[in-house]
Symmetry: C2
Subunit: 225 residues, 2 copies
Amino acid sequence: MKEGPNIARIATLIGDPGRANMLAALMSGKALTATELAGEAGVTKQTASAHLAKLKDGDLVVVEAQGRHRYFRLAGEEVAATLEALMGLAAAKGQLRTRTGPKDPELRHARVCYNHLAGEQGVRLYDGMLGHGYLRLGSNGLDLTQSGQELVGRLGIALDGNSRAPLCRECLDWSARRSHLAGRLGRAILQFTFEQGWAKRVEGTRIVRFTATGGAAFARAFKLT
Amino acid sequence: MKEGPNIARIATLIGDPGRANMLAALMSGKALTATELAGEAGVTKQTASAHLAKLKDGDLVVVEAQGRHRYFRLAGEEVAATLEALMGLAAAKGQLRTRTGPKDPELRHARVCYNHLAGEQGVRLYDGMLGHGYLRLGSNGLDLTQSGQELVGRLGIALDGNSRAPLCRECLDWSARRSHLAGRLGRAILQFTFEQGWAKRVEGTRIVRFTATGGAAFARAFKLT
DNA sequence: TCTATAGTTCGGCTATGATCGAACCATGTC
DNA sequence: GACATGGTTCGATCATAGCCGAACTATAGA
C-alpha cells in the first residue's frame, strides 16, 4: 500500500516551526535574505542557515546569490499551492496564529499569494473571468480565450515572455476554500493592479488594500459583480 | 509576518513516516482498523495507537467505533486534497517511493483519491464535463448545471442525500498536476463506474483498472474525446 | 590593507518524540 | 465464567534534530 510519492520528507521539512515561518514569510512573494528569514523564524543566523540549506535541498526554495547577499524565494507555484492547502486545513480547525485582530479580515479579503492575488478578491476575479468566458478550462488546463486575450490587450496588461511557466493556473485558497488565479497571468494582473494605483501592499504583511475608487475600477475592468 | 494559519502543526503530523504511510493508505478511501494501519506503517500496535490518537487530535482522521473495532478514515476532502498537493511536490522532485514498476503508470492513469476518481481519467472526466457545460464554475463554487443534472438522471447515477458535503469540489491531482472532480458527485460517479462493471479496483492498491469495453462505455457516457 | 557585514561550518548540549515491552481495559465467542 | 482478540496506557529507552557559541570564509567599501 505504499505506492505513490514520498510525502513524509516534504511534510517534515514544512513541519518545523522555524522553517514554516520562513516559508510563510516567503508567501509574500518577495525574495528575502538569510538574515531577514532568521528574524522571521526567531532564530540565529546559524540555525537559519541550516534550515535554509535543508529547504533548498528539498527543492522548496531556490536561492539567488547577489553580491554578498543570498536571496531566497519559493521554488514555484506548486509550493505556494501546497502551503495554501495546508493553511486551509489549519484554518479549518481554528488554528489561526494571530487572534482575530483587524489583520485577519483584511487577509481574508485580499492578500498576496506568492505572486498573485488571493482571498475573496482573488476568488471573485477567478470566478468572474470564467463566468464571462475570458478563461476556460480546456483539455490543456486553464486557457485564456480569444475574448480574454482581447481584454488583456485592451487594458494594457503586460505578460512577460518567460514562457516556461504556465500562463494560467489554479491555486486553492485557504480562506475562501475556492480556487483563484495563479500562473503568469495571475502575476501580471496583480502587477497591473498595483501599477494602476488601485491597491497597495500593507508593508510587512501579505495584505493587499484596495482604495475605494481602485476597488471599483478593478471590478469594472474585469466586469465583476 | 506571522499572520495566517499555523501550518507547522499539521505538517509535523504528516511528516512522520509512520503517520504518512497511514494517511497514504487511507487515501484508498477505505476505512481501516488500527491494526491494519499498524501493518501499513510497519510499527507495533502501541505505536500505531499513539499515532492515530495524534492524527485524530489534529482532525486529520475521524474514527468510528464498531464493536471492538475502531475504523479510521480521512477527515474529509480537504485532507485528501492536501495530501495530493504534497504528493505533487514529492513527485516533482522525483521522490517516487516505488521505483517505476508496472504500478506507477497505472496509478497515473486511473486511481482512487479518497472516494473519487483521480489520475488521467479523472482529469479527463473533469475537463470533459466542464467543456460540455455539465459543470460550471459559478460564484458559489463548482455547480452542476441543468444539462448536467439531466445527464446524471439519464444515466441513473445515485446521489446520496447527505447534503452537508458540497456536491462538487475540485481536487489537485499529483500525477497530472491538474484538477479533477471530487465532492458528492465525484464519489457517486466512481461508485456508478464500479456498479456498471466498467472498472475494478486492483486489490491492495489504489489503482482503478478499466476494461476495454468499460473504458469505451465510460468515455461515451460522459462524451469524452 | 583594514574593517564591517553576510553567511557557513563545527562541536557540543538539550529536548522532543518515536519506539516497544508489559500490563491493562473492552468486546465478542465458546 | 474462561478465553481470545482489538486497542490503550504507562514507563523506560534511545535517536534524531534543533539550537547556539565560537571560529571561519567571502564580499563590499573605504
